[in-house]
Structure formats: C-alpha cells, structure tokens
C-alpha cells in the first residue's frame, strides 16, 4: 500500500501555528469532557488569550516573509490533494484580530453567562467557532477553506440555537444554516470550476496559472468561478438577497452576536472575496459592487426604525458588510480589508456594550416581563452606566465614520474607491457611489437615534429601578475595544487614509491615490453625516424617534423590506407545495405504479384463473344473453363444467392454429 507522508517543508513557525489552532480546540475538548466544571470558562479565556499572543507572534514573524508549507493530504487516481498552509500579512492580521476579539468575547462571557446552566457547552462552542474561523484564515486552499467555512456554519448554528428551548432560537439557527447553505451551493460550484480549470484548489497556484495565462483556461469560466465563490461569500457575509438570516441570528447570546458580527462568521465571507478577487473580471466586479451597494443601503434603511437594540446593530452590520463588498467591487480590496479590521473592533464593542446594557437591565428586572433588548425600555443610561456609555459612544462614532475614529479611515477609503471607480468607469458605479453616500446619511441617523434612545432622554419604562454598571470585566473589555476603535491606532494621521500603516503594508489591489476625490469624498461624507445626525437630533428634540404611527416607509424599515415575507411567498411556500406534491407523486404515482403492477398481476391472475375456468361459461352466458335478446334460442344453457373445459381446450387449439397460420 502506498503511504502518504503528511508533512513536508515544516518549520518552527508551523508548530506555533498548529498550537494556535489547537488552543481553541483544546478549550472545546475540555469543556466537553468536564461539562460541569465552573472554572473552565476562565481557563478557556486564558487559552484564547494565549492563542492571541501566538497570533501576534506569528504576525510579527511572518511580517516580512510569509509562512507557507504543504501537507500531502491524499490522492484520487493520479491527482493528489495537498493542504497549503499560508500565513501572510493579511491572514496574520486577521488571525490576530480574530483571536483577540474571540479572547475578549470569551472573557466577557465569563461574567455574562455565569448563571447559565449550559455554560460549558457555550464555551465549548465558542472554542469550535474560533477554531473554524482560524482554519479559514490559515490556508490558501479553497477546499480547506470550504471545510472550515462549513464548520463556521455549524458552530454558528449551534450558538444561535444555544437556547434551543426557545422556539424562535431554534428557528433562527435553522434559518441561518440553511441560508448559508444556499451560498455554499455557489461555493461548491466554484470549487468544481476551479478544479476543472486549474486542477488545483490552491489560490497561489491558481493565481500563478492565471498570470501565466495557460491555454485552455477560459476567462469567462474563471469569472463565473469567482462569482460563484462570491455567492458563497454572500451567504456568510449576509449580502442581498441572502441577508435575512443575520437579524434573526440575534436569538443567540449577545456575546456570540459580537463574535459573529465582528470577527468570525460574516468576516469570513468578506475575507474570502478579498482573497479571490483576482478571479473576477471587470463585469463580475461590477456585480459585486452593486450587490454591496444594495446591501449597504438596504441594511442601513432597515436599521432606521428598529426598536430592538441588537436588531439595529445587526442591520448596521449588514450595511457595513455591504460597504466592504463595495470596496472589493470597486477594486479597493485593501480598503475593504481595512474596514473589515476596524469594523471588527467597533462592532464587537457595540455588541458587547449592548450586552452589558442588556445584562444590566436584566439584572434590574429579573422577571421576564421587561424586554431587556427593547430600546423603548431604556433611556437616560448615560448617568447609570458611564463607562459603558463612553465606550459605546466611541464605537458609535466609529460606525458613523466621524474623524479621529478608525471607522472614518476605513469607510473613507472605501468611499474614495467608489468615487474613483465612478469617475473612471462611470455607469453603474455612480449608483454604487451614490448608494454608498446615501447609506452614510442613514447610518448617522440610526446611530444617533440609537444613542439618543439608549443613553439620553428619559427612562420610558414605568417602574424605574436602579440600573448600574455590572462588572469590571465588562468595563475592561469595552475599554480595550474602544482603544482599538480610535483612529490613531490605525494611522498616525487620523485624517489621512494614505498614512494608514495597514493600507501601506498589505499587498492587495489598491485604490487610486488621486487628490481630488480624496478631499471631495471627505467633505461629502462629512456633509452626509451631519445631515443624518441632524435629522436624528431633531427627532430626539421632538421625541419622535419612536414613531407612533407606522407609515409605509417605517414599516418597510421595521420589517426589513418584507424580505422574509417575500421569500415565504415566492420560495418557501411553493417549495413546500412542491415537496408535498412529490410526496403525493411518491405515494400516488410511483408506489401506485408498483401497486398497480401488483394489483394488475392479481387481477390478471384472477382474470386468467377465471377465464381458465369460466371463459366458456362466460362466453356462453354472453351469447345466451345476446341470443336470448334476439329470441332465437331459449335459455337452455347452464354452466356444465367438464364440457366447458373441453370446449375451452378445443377453442384453444383452434386459436393456436389460427395464431400459427
């Protein structure tokens, strides 16, 4: 038997890479094995922090020379399949951000989930989730990416459905997984096309063969391959029209939402499309950009009038992911990547902040009659939770994209890219840019509305109780993230995207660095922001942020464009009808055919048996009937058996004679 040697060109960093991957898995294993241990969550957090340090170390050590090695996996026929592990600057950065945010979420959850009975299961799943996400990052092999991609789906399913006793959580988890799977169809098709064209899944090999433009590789097919992979990304990153799962995913514990929205799941899609963007032709890029723009706008619009704090954040995520996709679509992958990183910090912060608030309200009202997530039950929390408030403010501003925040830098670079694309290529790119800016207005409106509803104004809940900051852990985590959302961290000149060290260091498709759009973009976006914020503040003054009457515009926003209903109507209902129909086919047609065959066999046998015994009699009685009618013969004929036999035999003889003649 030929044996497969698993590992070749192995080096020191490789071990650390594996250790980093193994730590979350270790957390998973421990939590499964000792499912009653109350101390384990802390150990899990520690493991994740250790993993973060390793990631940091890897980032450092691979900054100048990327880490890459091959594992022989297996071979089918004469084709061998290898796993290529690759850590370059992009994945190194992502590794760090993912492990870091995951570690923070772990730590945050130690307190947040303290009273939950299934705590260990929760931490186990967090470990799995992190592991799967890291898996996507460390390889350049599409097949392996897809494997971890699916694992991410699984862990999100399990985490969203963490409180499985709740019907809504169960439904949401299912929805998330299935919608993701729709995207996965695209991914699989993309895989097939890639193998068909390149006989390799390794992105590096694919890129190389693309550059050397091998004969027989059809450009269109490659572009389709890219688009198919983009379909996969659309599922994971909640792009239109597959964004419906994300708002429902709020059914999971809030820290999980932080993880999903910031660092793991939705990031995976964007990361993938950034990685494979070289496959996309200009037409395909336009598709990507338009999808992103539509998503950005739809998400922002849907966030406008939500009352559930987590829903607002969820829709804002959709919108921001739309921006990232715009970035890829307009050819500014680096900007998209930049936004991915900054977004990870402030969105994690926002969710954890929201978690802290919810936790506090929940503490104050232990009975379930107060919806702890409804912003209408909040208000005036600025004084009650000052630390949370200040952190939350930073995150919010970053989300809007106010200067001095990380969000300003990254969003600016995307808008810049879109302006550039619009000005050079025109056409639909103008729509992309337009929607981008329009969404900025909407974003600033809903963020300001959220801030106003949560922290300012008056408490709208009737029986007022003392709400206070909960735990030190929460504060530390929030403040850490807040630091990460400040512009200086990402660029020494917080006004200039160009001076961002990230953008300068990563090797991705660059946006054009021209002066005019640069300034224009900044000014335009600032105007947009002020418009949105102004309207919101005006609304706050007049106390009309929670609209009393539901006009069509508001209803459209509240119901997320009625996407769920539309899908229910155009897909799910017909599909269910189809399955019912097929079931009927199965029972009524296929099985019935078999039954019919059985029955007809039975009937035939009866008929033959009957004919065998009675044909003559039957024939006789028939002729008697006829004859009796015509009155030629009287009824004198009755069944006489043995003679009927003889008659039948002779008749058979005559029939055979006629047959043979």
């Amino acid at each position: 038997m030929q044996t497969t040697t698993l590992i070749t060109n192995w080096d020191f960093n490789g071990y650390w890479l594996l250790v980093m991957l193994a730590l979350p898995l270790l957390s998973l294993g421990m939590n499964v094995a000792f499912s009653k241990n109350e101390r384990l969550p802390i150990l899990s957090s520690a493991l994740l922090f250790a993993s973060t340090f390793i990631a940091l170390f890897l980032l450092y050590s691979t900054w100048n020379s990327s880490l890459k090695f091959n594992l022989n996996w297996f071979s089918i026929g004469s084709n061998s399949y290898t796993i290529t592990l690759l850590v370059d600057r992009i994945s190194g950065l992502m590794l760090f951000v993912v492990t870091f945010i995951s570690a923070l979420v772990h730590w945050f959850s130690v307190d947040y989930m303290r009273d939950d009975a299934g705590r260990n299961r929760y931490f186990a799943l967090l470990g799995l989730f992190t592991f799967s996400m890291l898996g996507i990052l460390v390889t350049s092999n599409l097949l392996i990416i897809f494997m971890f991609w699916e694992l991410v789906g699984l862990s999100s399913y399990l985490l969203i459905g963490y409180w499985f006793n709740k019907e809504s959580a169960a439904a949401a988890s299912k929805k998330a997984f299935i919608v993701n799977r729709i995207g996965d169809i695209g991914f699989v098709i993309g895989l097939a096309i890639a193998w068909f064209n390149f006989q390799s899944f390794d992105l590096l090999v694919i890129q190389e063969s693309l550059n050397s433009s091998l004969p027989g590789v059809t450009v269109n097919l490659i572009s389709i391959c890219g688009l198919m992979l983009f379909l996969g990304a659309m599922g994971k990153s909640a792009q239109f029209p597959l964004q419906v799962w994300l708002p429902d995913a709020m059914e999971g514990p809030t820290p999980v939402s932080a993880l999903i929205h910031a660092a793991t799941m939705v990031a995976a899609g964007v990361y993938l499309i950034i990685r494979v963007s070289f496959l996309l032709s200009s037409d395909a890029l336009l598709v990507v950009a338009v999808t992103g723009a539509i998503t950005a706008f739809m998400g922002a619009y849907a966030a406008l009038f939500q009352n559930d704090i987590k829903k607002v954040l969820a829709f804002s995520t959709i919108s921001q992911l739309g921006y990232m996709i715009i970035g890829v679509g307009v050819g500014a992958s680096d900007a998209a990547f930049f936004h991915l990183l900054t977004h990870a910090f402030f969105k994690a912060g926002l969710f954890l902040g929201a978690g802290a608030i919810i936790y506090a309200i929940h503490k104050a009202y232990p009975s379930d009659d107060v919806d702890a997530q409804d912003m209408r039950n909040m208000g005036k929390l600025k004084s009650a939770m000052p630390v949370t408030f200040s952190a939350y403010l930073v995150f919010s501003l970053a989300l809007i994209g106010i200067p001095f925040t990380s969000g300003f830098l990254s969003k600016e670079s995307i808008l810049l890219g879109s302006m550039h694309a619009a000005s050079t290529q025109g056409g639909l790119y103008w729509l992309v840019a337009g929607l981008g800016f329009l969404s900025v207005i909407l974003t600033s409106f809903y963020v300001v509305r959220m801030l106003a509803l949560v922290f300012f104004g008056t408490r709208r809940n009737s029986n007022e109780k003392a709400i206070k900051e909960s735990s030190v852990t929460f504060k530390i985590v929030l403040l850490t993230l807040a630091v990460g959302s400040i512009g200086f961290v990402w660029s020494y000149n917080p006004f200039s995207v160009d001076s961002s060290w990230i953008l300068n260091s990563i090797n991705l498709r660059k946006y054009a660095q021209t002066e005019l759009p640069h300034l224009l973009t900044s000014v335009l976006s600032l105007i947009c922001i002020s418009v949105g914020a102004g309207v919101a503040l005006l609304g706050h003054k007049r106390d009309r942020l929670v609209p009393k009457n539901r006009s069509a515009v508001i209803a459209l926003s509240l119901n997320n464009w009625y996407l769920d209903d539309i899908y229910q109507f155009i897909i799910i209902t017909p599909f269910k009808a189809l399955t019912r129909f097929l079931k009927q086919i199965e029972i009524k047609v296929l099985d019935r055919v078999v039954h019919l065959m059985a029955v007809s066999t039975a009937v035939l046998s009866h008929v033959i048996g009957w004919l065998d015994r009675h044909i003559v009699d039957g024939f006789v009685s028939a002729s008697v009937y006829v004859v009796g009618r015509t009155g030629i013969l009287t009824k004198s004929i009755q069944g006489g058996k043995v003679q009927s036999y003889i008659l039948l035999a002779i008749l058979g003889l005559i029939i055979i004679i006629f047959l043979v003649i």
């Binding site: 038997m1 030929q2 044996t3 497969t4 996996w73 297996f74 071979s75 089918i76 026929g77 004469s78 084709n79 399949y81 097949l143 897809f146 494997m147 971890f148 699916e150 694992l151 699984l154 399913y157 399990l158 459905g161 499985f164 006793n165 709740k166 019907e167 959580a169 169960a170 439904a171 988890s173 299912k174 997984f177 299935i178 799977r181 729709i182 996965d184 169809i185 699989v188 098709i189 895989l191 097939a192 096309i193 193998w195 068909f196 189809l578 399955t579 019912r580 097929l582 079931k583 199965e586 296929l590 099985d591 055919v593 078999v594 059985a598």
Partner: protein, 572 residues
C-alpha cells in the same frame, strides 16, 4: 495461510449460523457467539487491510489479493462446449473497503440486536447467514458465485423483516423480496448471456491442447487462444464458458458471433444487444441501490425492519447493489456506461433531489432517513456515471461513508423507537432536555449525513460533485442541480432537529416521562465507533483513497479506453 482468509470470512458466520440454529443455546450465549463471529471477522478484515498490497497485478484490470481459486464445477453441455464455474474469491481495494465496511456494520448491528429475545435462535441464525452472504458478495470474482450470494441475501432478509419487523412487516418484506427478485432476474438474464458469450482462455487453451496445465499459461498462449478464437479455429464444443468476472471484462474473451460480442451486429428494440444487456443489468442493480424510480421498496422495508436490520440494509445491502453495478455492470460493459452516462447521471441527479424532497415531506423519522439514503445513493450513481477519477473515487467513498453514517442514522431512529415504539416526528418536541446525550448523537449524525466537513460524507459528496462537473460525459448543469441537495439536506435534518429536539418538551402520545431515558452504555458502544470512523475518514481520506486508488485510476483509464472502442464497434 493468506489463501483461506476470505473463505473463513464467508463461512465462519454460515457455520455459526448452523450451530446457532441446531443447538440449544441460551439467548445470551447465542448473541455472544454472534458478536464473537463478527469480532473475529473484524479482526481478519483488519489483518487483510494491514497486509493488503496492490502490487500483484496478475488478474487483469485491477489487481486482486488473497485470491482463492478452486474448481467448482465443469461439465460439457452437448455441442455448446463446457460450462465451468470456479469458487473464485479475491479482493481489490474496492472489495476490501466494502468488506471492511460490512464487518464493521455487522459488529454494530450485532450490538444493536442485543435485546432480541423473541425467537432469538432464528433471528441470530438468519443474521449470521446474511452476514456470510454479504461478505460473499463482496469477495466473489465469479459471477455465478456472486449471484448465489446476491440471491442468498434475500431470504434471510425477507424473514428478518417479515418476522421481527414493525406492524406492516409482511407487506414490506414481500414487497422487498419481489422487488429485488425482479431485479435479480434481470441480472440473471444478462448473466446467462454473458456465460454464453465468454470463454475461459486458460481452460480453453487446455481444451485445445495448447497447454497441459494451467501453470503453463502465459501471455503468449493467451494471444494464441484469442487469435484462434477470433478466426473461428476453436470449434464450439471446445469452448469453455466461464463465469469469471475478470475474463468477462476482456472483449478478447468473447466468442465471435456470440450474443454479447463487441463485433456483433445484433439489435434489439433498435439498440445493440450489448447496450440492452447493460440496461438490464443496470436496472437490476439500480433496484438494489436504489435509484429513483425503482426505490419504492426501500422506505417500506426500512420503516418496518427492526433496527439492526435497517442498519444492515442501509449500511451494507444498498452497497451491494452499487458494488455489483461497478463490478458486474460497468467493468463488463464500459460501452454501456459511456453510451448511457447522460441518462445514468440524470437518474443520479433525480435520485439525489427527489430523495431529499421526499425526506423533507416525511413525517416518520425512519422514512426520512430512508429517503435520505435514496438521496445519498444517488451520489454514487452520479459519481459512477461521471467516468472521472474524482467522480468514481467519490462514488466509492460515498458507498463507505454512507454505510457508516446511515448505519448510525438508523440506530438513532432505533433508540427512539425502542423507547416509545413511535417514530412520528410531530409527536415529539424538546427531546434535547430529556435526552441530551442522544441529542448530541443525533446532531453529530445528522450533520455528518448532510455532508459536514470533517465527516466522511463531505469528502465523498464534494468529490462526486466535482467529478461530475469535470466529467467528459456529463453536462455541467447536472452537478449544479445536484448541489441543491446541500440546502435540501440541511433543510430536512435541521427541520427535524427543530421539531423533535428543540423547543419545550412534550410527547403527544403518553404522559409517562420516565420512558425517555438517555443513551445506555451499550448504545454508546454502537454509536462511537461509527462516529470515530466517520471522522477518521473525513479528516484523513487517504486511509480509504490509498486503498481504492488503484481500482479507480486503472479502472477509469481502461474503462474509458475500452468503452470507447467497444462502443465504436457496436454502433457502426
């Protein structure tokens, strides 16, 4: 010593069956004997695996190991020549993987049969008989021997379903029996035709005095025999007709002017006879696989069969069909495969989607799993018809993988019906609260079955999909349509989880909450090996691929070359 291993593998259970049937053993002793037999088989099979070498290539297309060849019978039949059959067993990678799968499933099924006390003697005797017959199918290299074991599986199965099954067991068992018998009759028709058309070059050489003993046989003699045969120099009384599956694959062994001769011009219903024969044999095995629309026996059989039998049925028996299709169908009629690949692929895709849709509409847990089997076995057909190494390898991988996973799935259904005797999904809710460990197992197997990476099903399905896309024969849309099953399988499994395990607990039929006990130690014992194997194969595919690679790559090369040649000569 190696020589007799396969025979031991076959006849040990048959012998044990006789012992169990005719001696007054207690239930406990009987089941331990059964387990012992399965265990010994597992050990032997592991030994076979560890010592397996693919270098020996003396038996044609793919190399076979552990070959035993003993003359079974040989008699002359008037002017027709001689008919000879051998007790000829041996395994290549494909056969070995199937043997490994079946002994594993047998062990699990034995453990699952632990609580059978009703007429236990008959049960275990039939069970062991079935065991032997299945192994026999996988190792037989003589078509008659294969057919013997193939048919021989029917009867124990019929009684096992009919006597120990659910309420509609009699209907299901007779349906199963008639359906599969119908299939095997079609196979028999082709089997007879093949026997008429094929000669054994070695024995014919002896017959025409080219050589004296089989040892003297060499390639030179072979060429000479073929040449003589081709020029009609061998009179028909000298022909030694054979059932040898390997000789049948070589068109040079076909008697010129015989029914299935590749040079023949015989047409039936507008098709060359060889293609008709392929269709017959295909339908015969398609019933066993089962392929839509020949599948309707499966849901009934599964729903009514006792759990261990469902496990064997899904885990191994369906694979016998697929294995037969490969070994006796496409290796012998590569021209048929190439000619009909579009239709085969289409049937595969239809099975995949149709099975999944029906699973989605099922409200009976076992029925759902049964339909998912239809869907998964559709991948096997799609992979085979692709005629690419990825597709073919994936198909074989799927056979093993589905064997492991479907076994687990039916055990899962069995756990529940053991406790409540009720499998209707809508009667349950929130089982996760009462039976958390069971729920974990359900989640594991459901996700494994829907092709989650890390489990064997993923590798199999992804490569079948890729293989069918890059196939030279199948259009790309088939793969795209087939990949819709990713969503469908997720939908029916997750919906089931949502309905049965999530949400608040209730059970519609009874207020007795004590019946919902979590998994026992014995049940853990049957689940975990399957989980481990599924994971192992999912993460380290080379364990299996290294085994079957030889069959796959040589098979594909020869099939496509030979098939095209044959096809050209039969369709002029």
């Amino acid at each position: 010593m190696n020589g007799a291993l396969l025979s031991i593998l076959i006849f040990l259970p048959i012998l044990a069956s006789a012992i169990v049937a005719f001696s007054p053993l207690s239930q406990k002793l009987t089941k331990y004997i059964t387990l012992l037999v399965a265990g010994v088989q597992l050990l032997i099979a592991m030994g076979l695996y560890l010592n397996f070498s693919q270098t020996a290539g003396e038996y044609g297309m793919t190399s076979f190991s552990y070959v035993e060849k003993v003359k079974w019978f040989e008699f002359s039949l008037a002017n027709y020549g001689k008919i000879s059959a051998d007790y000829f067993v041996g395994i290549d990678g494909l056969g070995l993987s199937m043997v490994l799968l079946s002994v594993l499933v047998m062990v699990i099924a034995t453990i699952s049969s632990w609580n059978i006390t009703d007429r236990y003697k008959g049960y275990f005797a039939l069970f062991l008989l079935l065991n032997g017959a299945i192994i026999g199918c996988f190792v037989a290299l003589d078509f008659l021997l294969f057919y013997l074991f193939f048919e021989f599986m029917l009867l124990p199965m019929y009684f096992l379903i009919g006597l120990w099954g659910g309420p509609r067991r009699e209907y299901a068992s007779i349906k199963f029996f008639l359906y599969t018998l119908f299939g095997s009759i079609l196979i028999l028709i082709v089997l007879i035709a093949l026997n008429i058309s094929t000669i054994d070059p070695v024995k014919t050489a002896i017959e025409v005095d080219l050589i004296e003993t089989a040892d003297q046989y060499s390639e030179k003699v072979e060429t000479q025999v073929h040449k003589m045969l081709n020029f009609g120099k061998i009179s028909s009384t000298m022909h030694v007709h054979t059932f040898n599956l390997i000789y049948m694959t070589d068109p040079a062994n076909l008697i010129p002017g015989s029914i299935l001769d590749t040079e023949g011009t015989r047409m039936l219903l507008g098709l060359p006879l060889r293609l008709v024969a392929f269709l017959l044999i295909f339908i015969g095995f398609a019933i066993k696989i089962p392929v839509v629309p020949f599948h309707t026996w499966l849901p009934d059989a599964h729903v009514e069969a006792p759990t261990p039998i469902s496990v064997i049925l899904a885990g191994v028996l369906l694979k016998v069909g697929a294995y037969g299709l490969i070994r006796a169908g496409i290796f012998i009629f590569p021209d048929g495969l190439i000619h009909f690949s579009w239709w085969l692929g289409l049937l595969g895709v239809i099975s995949i989607i149709y099975g999944a849709m029906n699973a989605l509409a099922s409200n009976d847990l076992k029925k759902l799993i049964a339909y998912s089997s239809v869907s998964h076995m559709g991948f096997v057909l799609l992979g085979i018809s692709a005629l690419s190494s990825e597709g073919f390898g994936g198909a074989i991988y799927q056979m093993v993988s589905h064997g492991v996973i479907a076994a687990g799935l039916f055990l899962i259904a069995g756990v529940l019906s053991d406790r409540t005797h009720d499998r209707l999904i809508e009667n349950y809710s929130g089982l996760a609260q009462k039976m958390p460990k069971y729920t974990v197992m359900v989640v594991i197997f459901f996700f494994a079955s829907m092709g989650l990476p890390g489990f064997s099903g993923f590798i199999a399905e992804i490569f079948v999909l890729i293989g069918s896309f890059i196939s030279p024969l199948l259009p790309g849309w088939m793969m795209i349509v087939a990949s819709i099953v990713l969503v469908l399988s997720a939908a029916y499994y997750l919906w089931t989880i949502q309905r049965m395990f999530y949400g608040p607990f209730y059970y519609r039929l009874s207020d007795d909450r004590t019946i919902f006990t979590d998994l026992t130690k014995r049940e853990h014992l049957m689940f975990w090996p399957l989980v481990v194997i599924a994971l192992l194969l999912g993460i380290f595919p080379h364990f299996l691929f290294d085994l079957i690679n030889e069959s796959v790559s040589q098979g594909i090369d020869l099939l496509s070359a030979q098939g095209l040649v044959n096809l050209k000569s039969i369709i002029k």
